[in-house]
């Protein structure tokens, strides 16, 4: 419990749409430890995106509790939420979400801009991260000039630059072919190896199979939460598939 980075207790969330209330999360308990790589699976409508949004402080919850690095995250001002996001969480999206008119380096440096790091310094740091991800020579290219895999690597660099505790990846490989998917997963694993927790939302079993723990959500409750003993084992992917 001591090294838990994300702790969620009986979390409830419903969306009110006119007179109908849609109960999306119906008491979710979750505990993710520092350095863990976890995948959250579930069909559409299972509440996995909502859970991710709450964990990412992009949305708030109705009942329960959420602790991020031991700090209780409650309804807070947008300014505070922005600071938390900036400090603790890195986002990786399915559609990359790079700013189209900024080049790779500027995109990577953006979180530091919000921390008021000087332009020269943040661009230098951004170049270092691009270097690590093998995109040094693409630093001055616009996102439109990069391939999907390259874009996602830029996005990962951007999520890493603020040295977050957790990376939230929403279908990080959803828009990529299998080869680049593998590439991106390798990178994420490398990142995880440095001690950063990673939560991947996915519906692809091959992706989930590469994580340490697989959490399955169904209709707003956790259906199963099992440790993947065959972590990083290609064969187990097939086994898991059969189990389902």
């Amino acid at each position: 419990m001591d090294n838990s980075i994300i702790r969620v207790e009986t979390l409830h969330k419903s969306y009110v749409n006119g007179s109908n209330a849609l109960h999306v999360l119906k008491g979710v308990d979750l505990d993710i430890r520092q350095g863990e790589m976890v995948s959250i699976m579930g069909s559409s409508g299972s509440g996995k995106s909502t859970l991710l949004n709450i964990i990412g402080i992009l949305d708030n919850y109705d009942a329960g509790a959420y602790y991020l690095d031991g700090i209780k995250i409650e309804k807070m001002s947008e300014t505070r939420a922005a600071r938390f996001r900036n400090k603790y969480i890195g986002f990786v999206f399915q559609s990359f979400n790079l700013i189209s008119f900024k080049n790779a380096m500027e995109n990577v440096a953006l979180p530091l801009y919000y921390q008021k790091v000087s332009r020269k310094k943040r661009n230098m740091i951004a170049l270092e991260y691009l270097e690590k991800l093998g995109l040094r020579e693409w630093a001055h290219h616009l996102p439109s000039e990069l391939s999907g895999g390259q874009k996602q690597r830029v996005a990962i660099a951007r999520s890493l630059i603020s040295k977050p505790k957790v990376i939230l990846a929403d279908e990080p490989t959803g828009a990529l072919d299998s080869v680049t998917s593998t590439e991106v997963m390798e990178i994420l694993k490398e990142v995880n190896a440095t001690g950063i927790s990673i939560i991947i939302v996915t519906h692809e079993n091959e992706i989930a199979a590469q994580t340490q723990r697989i959490i399955r959500l169904r209709d707003g409750i956790i259906e199963s939460n099992e440790v993947n003993h065959n972590f990083s084992n290609e064969v187990s992917a097939g086994v898991l598939l059969e189990q389902r």
Binding site: N53, G56, L58, D59, E78, T79, A82, R83, R85, N86, K87, G90, F91, F93, S95, N97, L98, I99, S100, F101, K102, E106, L110, P111, Y113, Y114, Q115, R119, R158, S159, S162
Partner: protein
């Protein structure tokens, strides 16, 4: 201050939608342009009018006799009467509010036909009998010689001062007129000066540049006016209102001449102070109108900017969402939108200001040229259309405020964008 990332976004936004940006900015441009041109024109009107009247004593009034309209003390109504020298003495004695008093004779009967001769030259000019004090009410500057003085009055000298046009007709160009003689309606007068009025836009009975002023006393004697005074002007002392002083003067005059005290039409009068006040209000009214129209146009422009900024924010929903997700504070987004709005407004306004000033300058140049081509005695009521530095600075401040206000609603909209909704936006 200069934040490259912020400006990069603004320039990209403007560059990507050149036509839209230009059309939007045009509203504000036109507002400021109108404001500048109209204010400048208003100033031109004020300058034009005041330039021709500014030196006239604003605390003065003029009076003349008219037919009585009421029977009084045995006199019938409709009686014709005249002021005389004694009236002037009594006014000086009895009305403490009067500062200077300048009785005048308007020589209608000696100004008929070709009344002025000098050698082979002749002309038709108005003759006025004047006191030196007249120069304190309706000042002139002397091009040659001197104005009439007390000795001229006292000794009833046959001297005269002449208007510019009189000099042009009766003398050679460049000739020194002082000491020369002219025959005015059969009597020789020595010219002692040439005057140029400082108030060409105020005319009392005749064109001043075509007038000859002779000493009042001389005129009474030479042309047989007895002790008559045709009309007179006076100024009120400091602290006395012209209207009140005029009432007192009229009471004295009516008493002297057995005119009914309540006969309002027996004395005609013209109160310059009131005229000036009326003019002041008129100019104020014009200015208020200009500002209402100008600001109104500007507001229309600002609404345009505001409108387009809402569209810009909507277009950038996703970007704003991304920025929020990776740690942009609401204030970062607000200041971004406000900066863009103020930038667009200020640039457009600055162009409007420059172009407006340029147009005013063009008009000014054209006016100066056309004035040079006009006859000298033509009256001008429009000169120096211009706007001052204060006005320019004021309009720039107005622009920035307009930009801020125009950006307010879009900025609020931008802040209300929830990162999740923005990211869902595909």
């Amino acid at each position: 201050m200069f934040d490259k990332d912020r400006w990069q976004e603004i320039f990209i936004a403007i560059k990507q939608n050149k036509l839209r940006s230009v059309l939007t900015a045009f509203g504000v441009f036109w507002g400021i342009f109108m404001l500048v041109v109209m204010t400048g024109s208003g100033n031109g009107l004020v300058n034009g009018v005041t330039q021709g009247t500014a030196n006239f004593a604003s605390n003065s009034a003029f009076m003349w006799t008219q037919n009585t309209t009421k029977p009084y003390k045995g006199f019938r109504q409709g009686r014709w009467w005249n002021f005389n020298n004694r009236d002037m003495e009594i006014i000086r004695d009895q009305v403490p509010g009067v500062d200077v008093i300048a009785p005048r004779l308007q020589g209608w009967d000696v100004s008929q036909g070709e009344n002025v001769h000098r050698g082979l030259r002749s002309g038709s000019f108005t003759v006025n009998g004047d006191y030196p004090a007249y120069n304190l009410i309706d000042p002139s500057e002397m091009i040659h010689g001197r104005f009439l003085n007390e000795m001229d009055i006292h000794l009833r000298r046959k001297v005269c001062i002449i208007g510019e046009r009189v000099y042009e007709v009766m003398f050679e160009r460049g000739e020194d007129p002082v000491g020369q003689y002219m025959k005015v309606s059969g009597v020789y007068f020595q010219v002692v000066g040439v005057f140029r009025t400082l108030n060409p836009n105020i005319q009392l009975g005749s064109n001043k540049s075509e007038s000859i002023y002779v000493p009042f006393t001389t005129m009474q004697q030479v042309y047989n006016y007895g002790d008559r005074v045709h009309y007179f002007g006076f100024t009120a002392k400091q602290g006395h209102s012209v209207a009140e002083t005029a009432e007192q003067v009229m009471a004295v005059l009516k008493n002297n001449h057995s005119v009914a005290p309540d006969d309002k039409d027996a004395i005609g009068h013209f109160n310059v102070e009131e005229m000036v006040r009326t003019m002041t209000y008129l100019f104020l009214g014009i200015n208020v109108l200009i500002w209402i129209v100008g600001i109104g146009t500007l507001i229309a422009g600002a609404v345009g900017i505001s409108n387009i900024m809402v569209v810009v924010v909507k277009e950038r929903t996703k970007e704003i969402g991304i920025q929020r997700a990776i740690g942009a504070r609401p204030w970062t987004i607000v200041s971004q939108v406000l900066t863009e709005s103020v930038f667009l407004t200020t640039i457009a306004g600055f162009i409007g200001l420059s172009l407006g000033t340029l147009v005013l300058h063009g008009v000014d140049t054209a006016l100066t040229h056309s004035q040079a081509a006009m006859p000298a005695d033509e009256q001008v009521f429009f000169t120096n259309p211009e706007i001052g530095v204060t006005m320019a600075v004021a309009s720039l401040i107005i622009l920035v405020i307009t930009g801020l206000i125009a950006g307010l609603i879009p900025a609020q909209k931008a802040v209300r964008i929830k990162p999740i909704e923005a990211l869902r936006h595909e």
